[in-house]
């Protein structure tokens, strides 16, 4: 991967939704620089999850879309190398897929195991749990977690091992302040350490001013210069979560 190229770029992402008879994503092009902070907000059904899936390499992009990771065009890469590309990403969504019969710590070490960094896995994940004040969940089976805790662990797993890019889809929207605050602090720390952070949600976070802000509505993406940012405390009082 080239160090001077954006960590992820996507050009001309176009996807029609035959059931709604409209475009789910309309010619979207976006670039995420290394170490940058980006936020994409929009109403439900706007296409955030689809864009998240393509950018986090969970789904192959539709034909005609060009996705470039670290300067390498995915069109021209064999499947095994695309899998290698996923190792530089950490991603989390509002309904995280977890190993339900395993403990929290076992779930958190999975990214390390896959990346072949098992040696430092335990210390790093314990430090992460400690930093997010969730150490008491260390040995709890994931099946026994509340929804909020499950989502929080999903986001922590995306941060595990400080990947080069962290993408979070709607997960932060669902978190209550008690859990959100330390996780946002940890995200900010990852960003300061050089990871690119891309958040997808309903509202901009307090950190939105750090980087680029986009609005995705009816499949169309537009960059927002001066967003309205609701302070976290106010949002919590108003029933919002961020």
């Amino acid at each position: 991967m080239r160090k001077d190229a954006p960590i992820i770029s996507c050009f001309h992402l176009d996807l029609s939704d035959p059931t709604r008879k409209r475009k789910a994503l309309d010619d979207i092009s976006i670039e995420v620089e290394r170490g940058s902070w980006s936020e994409v907000v929009g109403p439900a059904g706007g296409g955030k999850t689809l864009l998240f899936s393509v950018l986090s390499l969970r789904a192959a992009p539709p034909r005609g879309t060009k996705v470039v990771v670290g300067g390498r065009n995915l069109d021209r890469l064999p499947v095994t190398e695309i899998a290698d590309m996923r190792r530089v990403f950490g991603s989390a969504c509002a309904q995280p897929i977890m190993l339900d019969d395993r403990s929290v710590i076992e779930n958190l070490v999975v990214p390390f195991v896959v990346r072949g960094e098992s040696r430092m896995a335990l210390e790093s994940t314990e430090a992460l749990l400690e930093a997010c004040e969730l150490m008491h969940l260390r040995d709890v089976c994931v099946r026994e977690l509340s929804h909020q805790e499950r989502v929080a662990v999903g986001v922590l797993r995306a941060l595990a091992g400080r990947p080069q890019a962290i993408l979070v889809d709607a997960a932060l929207d669902a978190l209550e302040q008690r859990l959100l605050k330390p996780i946002m602090a940890e995200l900010k720390q990852c960003h300061l350490d050089g990871s690119a952070v891309v958040l997808f949600g309903r509202e901009y976070s307090e950190n939105a001013r750090r980087g680029r802000r986009y609005r995705l509505e009816l499949g169309r993406l537009s960059e927002v210069e001066n967003p309205v940012i609701v302070p976290a405390e106010d949002a919590a009082e108003a029933g919002g979560v961020r």
Binding site: A24, T49, A59, P62, A83, M85, V88, V110, P111
Partner: protein
């Protein structure tokens, strides 16, 4: 992989045992048919092949006629050798069978016996059957008194047994298909149970081959187990068969083609299991919850 490949099978041992037994039965039934046909054919073929057709000439057939017929038969494809047996040689053969004293008692001499041709086939049973039919046709000639060939009923039985062996091979293919379906279904079910684990691994960059590997290993091991059960059963049946043959005929008969038939399920079972695992773990057949509905609808 986070867990060993066989962990999923160990979690439901009774189900695994039932699948292995069902898979072994699917290998066993055609194996039994093929094995029985091969064993019976072996016995019959051994008897027929040891019987070389003989052409007896009339007493007034001259040496020129005998030489012409010998040259003609030597040209036939399934013939390895044609031996001319004069009267004196025929007496020696007779002495071997009946004993010299009995031949002397009967007063048989070389001059009394006509010349004959002993035909040694060069091909196995199927070619042998054709040869016997052609030799039988020679009896119509004036110079030929009689032909010594295996009994027609024995030949017919051999043909039927050959047909049964072919049918067994056909059923073997069907059995293999059933075996692959049984194992494939079970492997697919285990894969569905492991879907979240596979999704998590893929999400963080695991290669497709490392996600596929446990299913392929499982297929190979389950196939090997089912093939092992089928082989042990067939070998037991084979030993029993040989025991029965020995007790009935008082001699041990070498069942040359039957032994490989008994071992085939072991090799073929594991190979089919690996193929079934390979097939069900292809990305298009592997369930995943990673792709959103709209993207999965597009098959991307």
């Amino acid at each position: 992989m986070i867990q060993p490949a066989m962990h999923a099978c160990r979690k439901s041992p009774w189900q695994t045992l039932a699948v292995v037994l069902a898979a072994s039965v699917s290998l066993l039934l055609p194996g039994f048919i093929a094995f029985s046909a091969a064993a019976a054919r072996d016995t019959a073929a051994g008897w027929i092949e040891s019987f070389n057709p003989v052409i007896y000439f009339t007493s007034n057939a001259d040496a020129q006629t005998v030489a012409t017929v010998k040259a003609e038969i030597e040209e036939w494809a399934p013939v390895g050798e044609v031996r001319l047996r004069k009267g004196a040689d025929a007496v020696k053969d007779l002495e071997k069978r009946l004993g010299p004293e009995r031949v002397r008692e009967l007063g048989i001499t070389g001059a009394m016996l006509p010349s004959s041709l002993v035909v040694v086939p060069s091909t196995p049973v199927i070619g042998h059957i054709d040869l016997v039919a052609r030799v039988a046709g020679l009896e119509a000639r004036d110079a030929i008194d009689a032909v010594g060939i295996p009994d027609a009923t024995a030949m017919r039985v051999l043909s039927i047994l050959s047909l049964l062996a072919a049918l067994g091979a056909g059923l073997g293919l069907l059995g293999l298909f059933v075996h692959a379906v049984i194992l494939g279904e079970y492997l697919a079910r285990l894969q569905r149970v492991e879907q979240p684990q596979n999704d998590v691994l893929m999400m963080f960059g695991a290669h497709g081959r490392s996600v596929r590997k446990p299913t392929i290993i499982r297929g190979g091991v389950l196939g090997l187990w089912s093939g092992g059960i089928a082989t042990v059963t067939l070998l037991g049946a084979l030993a029993l068969w040989q025991g029965v043959v020995s007790a009935s005929f008082g001699s041990s008969i070498s069942l040359v083609t039957a032994w490989p038939v008994a071992i085939v399920p072991l090799l073929v079972g594991s190979l089919t299991g690996v193929c079934a695992g390979f097939f069900v773990s292809t990305p298009s057949r592997r369930p995943t919850a990673l792709v959103p509905r709209l993207l999965s609808a597009y098959g991307v």
